[in-house]
């Protein structure tokens, strides 16, 4: 006991000894630091003071030219040009208000300019120069240059501005750039590319501009400059040149884009056309569009409100973010599911009397043709879009087998197109319904899923991709907007190779049945016979109509008596030439009524142009990108937002 206590005291003694020694070391080392500070800050102060004052070597970033965006035929969709800006460095100004008042006597400074200046001023640092006026013309620039001596801290700079020569045409594809905000900064920091944005003010915000930002931006260069006491560059000591951003070459054909957008007329909607063999997207329409040039310099409140509050929702990227019930365009895929599961193989046929009922129910699932179609086999069911046939097929397949199969065609998942913000639509399953609504799945819901009604939701992109997969015998090519990335200086191009996404193993005989059914759609007797009239090539197609509002039993749908925004959506999918598909597409005309008559003509014009080089009669003038404001349609129209049936929250849609 005593030994232990002694031991303890002994240990404590030694511990305190060591602690004391540590304290001594701390004091010695801190004194060493204090001496070092004294040496630097007192003894050598003058020396370092001079060095600091003469610290004239400054690294100035040189912003690289942003890459161009070019369509498949070499038409420029996005380029840059220099403009003069009048800039103020706040730290060098004594009285800002006086300076601005004096400046406005020389060049016009609007209240909008002032608003923007104040906004930028808050966002930037004291020593950074902030533009008060952009787009100075030559005479304004000259006027200021003469008076420059009166305005220390104000200077003319030339900055690169982005311009979209085709304006509204294809604006959802090209996208736009905008000023870097906090969210962008965080993203750049995360991707470890922040240092490359020293000096950059803009970053891609949507479309190709956003997705290909890392390629378009280029590598920032640096200039080592000698600066005077005011921070003005006097002499360049050395420089590392910036590497301009890569040019991005799209698979889009802007002439085709124009034809398609014009063909929509005053309708809202979307169209995606794909080369089924490569996955290259040929046209990507979202109507109405907007002018991306508005966003470059920071969009003003009025324009923003007009775009954002418009019932037409021009800012929504409909092909990847608009969701619609597929309607009867779903039937070819349901047909494939049936055939591949050994159901409805020829010579199976039904006697259609115009409706379908479940075993112990009186509810009639009606065909679109009240009198029925008579004897119908699989091929004919597609051609005439026989609802009764597909009600029974869906029920016999069951919802799980049905959705499991069509999922291979890309429904219920993202297509993987090179654009941000894609949503995955919805393929309903009993588990999904239980999760979402806490309700069991009903047989009737399986029945209507067979004709693309009910919970199923697709994006135009998905529908086009599914059509392309069908046209390509089950081989899914990854859809892409960009085909080449070109180095700006050397002109070296890197091709984006076509990429097989998935291969669905399908029985060729089954494919043949569905494809024959779709070919007959555009022939006399089919639901879109007019679309195929006088065509120099065979078109395989399927029409669809998606209900926007429910119709009660025994009630008739009368388009003319219904509010325009409650009319059915018209859907149309097609590929051509039917025997050797070169183009596959999906058209959705919001509140357009019948798929064949509203969507079909748009598809036909696009296919005529692509396959025959034929221009629509009203639009035969050669494309003159700069002189003519293209696609300036739909902006002044009344219309509705993309209707999301059932108000399903977006997270449910595999966003």
């Amino acid at each position: 006991m005593r030994a232990e206590l002694k031991n303890f005291q002994h240990e404590q003694y030694y511990f305190k000894l060591r602690l004391g020694f540590s304290a001594f070391v701390v004091i010695v080392l801190f004194s060493l630091l204090a001496v070092r500070f004294f040496y630097l800050q007192i003894k050598q102060h003058d020396h370092y003071q001079t060095l600091a004052e003469n610290n004239r070597i400054s690294l100035v970033p040189i912003v690289p030219n942003r890459g161009l965006i070019i369509d498949r035929n070499g038409i420029v969709l996005a380029h840059n040009f220099f403009v003069y800006t009048l800039e103020i460095t706040p730290s060098k100004i004594t009285d800002l208000d006086v300076t601005i008042a004096e400046l406005s006597k020389l060049v016009e400074i609007s209240s909008l300019d002032l608003k923007r200046y104040n906004k930028l001023r808050v966002e930037s640092r004291n020593f950074e120069s902030v533009p008060i006026r952009t787009h100075l013309n030559d005479s304004e620039a000259a006027k200021f240059a003469v008076n420059h001596y009166r305005f220390p801290g104000v200077e003319i700079k030339s900055r690169l501005f982005r311009h979209y020569p085709l304006g509204k045409l294809g604006s959802h594809v090209v996208g736009y750039i905008g000023r870097i905000n906090d969210k962008d900064l965080a993203g750049l920091e995360k991707s470890e590319s922040l240092s490359n944005y020293k000096g950059s003010d803009h970053v891609g915000k949507s479309g190709v501009e956003q997705f290909y930002e890392p390629y378009l931006h280029g590598t920032t260069g640096f200039q080592q400059v000698e600066i005077d006491a005011d921070g003005r560059a006097v002499r360049v000591l050395s420089s590392t040149l910036p590497v301009p951003g890569n040019n991005i070459i799209l698979s889009i054909d802007s002439k085709m884009q124009e034809i398609a957008e014009t063909a929509f007329g005053e309708h809202r909607g979307a169209m995606v056309a794909i080369d089924p063999k490569t996955g290259a997207v040929l046209a990507y329409v979202s109507q109405p569009t907007f002018d991306p040039n508005l966003f470059v310099d920071g969009i003003d409140v009025e324009n923003w409100k007009a775009l954002n509050d418009s019932l037409d929702k021009p800012l929504i990227n409909r092909p990847i973010r608009g969701i619609y019930p597929p309607g009867s365009t779903f039937k070819p895929f349901v047909a494939m599911a049936g055939l591949e599961n050994g159901k409805r193989l020829p010579p199976f046929s039904i006697q259609d009397s115009g409706y379908f009922t479940l075993a112990n129910s009186t509810h009639r699932y009606r065909d679109w043709k009240p009198s029925g179609h008579g004897m119908v086999d699989m091929q004919r069911a597609i051609t005439i879009s026989c609802d009764t046939f597909f009600y029974g097929l869906a029920l016999e397949l069951g919802i799980e087998k049905l959705t499991d199969f069509v999922r291979h065609f890309g429904f219920g998942g993202k297509s993987g197109i090179d654009m941000q913000g894609e949503i995955g639509g919805l393929l309903p399953t009993p588990e999904w319904k239980m999760r979402r609504y806490k309700q069991p799945w009903y047989q009737g819901e399986t029945v209507i899923t067979g004709i693309g009604q009910g919970y199923t939701l697709v994006t135009p992109m998905q529908l086009a991709q599914a059509t392309a997969i069908l046209a390509n015998d089950g081989v899914a090519m990854k859809p892409h907007l960009v085909t080449q990335i070109q180095q700006a200086i050397s002109g070296k191009t890197q091709m984006i190779a076509a990429e097989v996404q998935d291969k669905i193993v399908l029985n060729p005989e089954n494919i043949a049945i569905v494809r024959r059914g779709m070919m007959d759609v555009t022939l006399p007797g089919g639901t879109a016979a007019s679309v195929g009239a006088n065509a120099a090539y065979a078109i395989a197609a399927k029409t669809g109509t998606a209900q926007v509002i429910g119709i009660k039993q025994n009630e008739k749908y009368n388009a003319s008596s219904i509010n325009e925004r409650h009319r059915d959506h018209a859907l149309f999918i097609a590929y051509a030439p039917a025997d050797n598909p070169k183009i596959a597409l999906a058209v959705i005309v919001e509140n357009g009524g019948h798929g064949g008559s509203a969507g079909g003509p748009i598809a036909r014009k696009v296919m005529d142009y692509y396959l025959l080089g034929k221009l629509p009669e009203v639009n035969a003038a050669p494309l003159d990108p700069i002189a003519k404001p293209l696609g300036a349609i739909g902006a002044s129209l009344i219309g509705s937002a993309v209707i999301k049936p059932g108000a399903i929250p977006e997270e449910e849609l595999h966003d």
């Binding site: 240990e11 511990f15 800050q41 600091a52 610290n55």
Partner: protein, 364 residues
Amino acid sequence: MINKLFQHLAKHIDSFLMTCLLFTLLIGLFVLYSASGQNYSRLFGQVINITIALSFMWVAANIAPNQLERVALPLYVLGVLLLICVALFGSMSHGARRWLSLGFTQIQPSEIMRIAMPMMLAWYFSKREGKPAMADFAVGGLLLVVPVALIMKQPDLGTAILISASGFYILFLAGLSWKFLVGGVIAFAASTPILWSMLHDYQRRRIEILLDPTQDPLGAGYHTIQAIIALGSGGIAGKGWLKGTQTQLDFLPERSTDFIFAVFGEEFGLLGNLLLLLLFSLIIMRGLVIASQAPSTFSRLLAGSITLTFFTYGFVNMGMVSGILPVVGVPLPLISYGGTSMVMLCIGFGILMSIQTHKKLVAT
């Protein structure tokens, strides 16, 4: 009522230490505001970091030392396992493998080690009360070397040095013999060439440039040269808050983090620097007093190590900014911008407070 609540909340807070910490943190916020170019979101971010860190400190202060003793071994084992995981499947960033992705978040296991290492060694030596034998030091050394080697390998020299220091202080305070210490210094000197060969190129370059920063004035030496110019031009009273030309004109790199001391020294001068040294000294002396009064071997060793590690932080950072130590990537404690290091530091201070305030309860 409110008074009572406050008393209850502050029961395990050491008021002297707390005052010094708060004062230093406040100075840090002012410096950060200037260093970040008057960026409010940075400042706000740091306020959040501090709030979180102080909450952790409060929690740590309320955990009795004997409870800490119990988790020492599991925490250490967990830390080592995670470090092994980092070496095997860690994610690369900036040419170093430090992070471990857990799916929903990323963790940096070397940070856990900063607390786990001193706790483990303190626990180990507390189990060998009396005079630890040479073999115990050998085991202690091994416990120290394994994780440090893993961290060196990432590579993260700054953290490796700090963790080595925290472990070494325990060995030293536990009574590692002077003969061995002196022998160690000689052995270290002899093994310098081998260590040199183990360093990464960029680390070697840093040491070379330390010896002669003018070798590479626009490259690796740029940091040091600009930092020294900033300090030196600050003079006695400094250029004034927000008025440091080196800082505001972008000459100083990494102003908010590792080189924030240069901002401070430029804008507040020698007087500011001495004030900061004084504050640091007060914190360290308080920590040493707490260690000397601690009732158990575990708490005593742990308190000593935490305090001296804090000292090491400050000394290495200020030494590096003023050009007497190599640039090793150690932030200035309580001042530099950063969440994790702030939290770890404050957990350390919380443990110090716990040791100080639980002692009385045990003694009665």
